[in-house]
Amino acid sequence: MCTTCGCGGGEAKLDGQPHSHPHPLDHSALRPGRRRISLEQSLLAKNDALAALNRQAFLERGILALNLVSSPGSGKTTLLEQTILRLRDRVPVVVIEGDQQTSHDADRIRAAGAPAVQINTGKGCHLDAHMVGHALESLSPAEGAVLMIENVGNLVCPAAFDLGEAHKVVILSVTEGEDKPLKYPDMFAAADLMLLNKVDLLPYLRFDVDRCLAFARRINPGIQILHVSAQTGEGMEAWLAWIEAGRRLAMTVRKTAAS
């Protein structure tokens, strides 16, 4: 990769062929009169530091934070509405909604009975720890709350940005391609739980569930998988149980840390 001659070397390929070529220029030599500073700093250092602050705030207040990620149209918001309706009498639930434009989703979440803050990322393709930190200031979730962060619908960029959450939860609906775990491996590698959504539609589709799950486990052998339908309620109890187990753990950790 070289900025002098401009030749490429990236991952982008045309018909599977890279477009790079070797060249003899060497930019590693230090010119006289200059000094070299070794940095070894991650490009994500800024985000990661802010994510650590969010995580610390969650830990101190026994909050379970989940980062929900998926393609657009996987049914994230409907799933979230149904989750809130079932959970709100047992557990305080608050929501951060991420979208490029509009506050439609936050309006839907509030109508379902949970406090919500909408973040509009404008041209941005993901939420970052800084935006979430500010959203937390206005939400100020109660101790022991469950915080659901609905990320921008995008299976690529949100994978890299830690928001301080306990888990990334990836939602894949059966109306999508069963090979999505292979096409977007970073996201499936980063997630601890995969929700296979819209399973009520399986009789009408040619979607090979076993193949899809095998792909997901090939990317991430430790990933947990639950089958759900936000529409019919199928599998929702298992999902709620998973959330409540996470919340109990968050509260236990807080007590341990406080004592």
């Binding site: 990769m1 982008a12 000094r35 500073i37 890299a160």
Partner: protein, 113 residues
């Protein structure tokens, strides 16, 4: 296009570094980016110009060193190179490969005065 925000984060970090270490101009910045980092180096290069305008990095040369994906095969135990995160071991053809490198994305060093 999260490369744009990665670059913005980098520029912010280097500006802070400039204040701390007392340099006013960066001539060259070298990044190390793993092949499995989920980052498109062409997009990083594209974002570099606009995000560095009016900063200590304006006009600097950007060099990106790509690091190979490497890992330990869970079946045969060998250290192997992989092209993609989900590749099976290229030696035995059977095992999952637990990555040991290739997901890095960091600023290695800066040439400054």
């Amino acid at each position: 296009m999260h490369e744009l925000s990665l670059m913005e984060g980098m520029v912010q970090g280097i500006q802070e570094e400039a204040l701390r270490r007392g340099f006013t101009r960066v001539h060259q910045v070298r990044l190390e980016v793993g092949r499995l980092a989920g980052v498109e180096v062409e997009a990083l290069r594209f974002a570099f110009g606009p995000t560095t305008e009016g900063t200590v990095l304006e006009g600097a040369l950007l060099e990106i060193l790509e690091l190979p994906g490497q890992g330990l095969c869970q079946a045969c135990g060998q250290t192997v190179e992989v092209e993609a995160r989900f590749d099976l071991c290229p030696v035995c053809g059977e095992g999952f490969v637990a990555l040991t490198s290739g997901t890095e994305m960091r600023v290695k060093d800066l040439d400054v005065d």
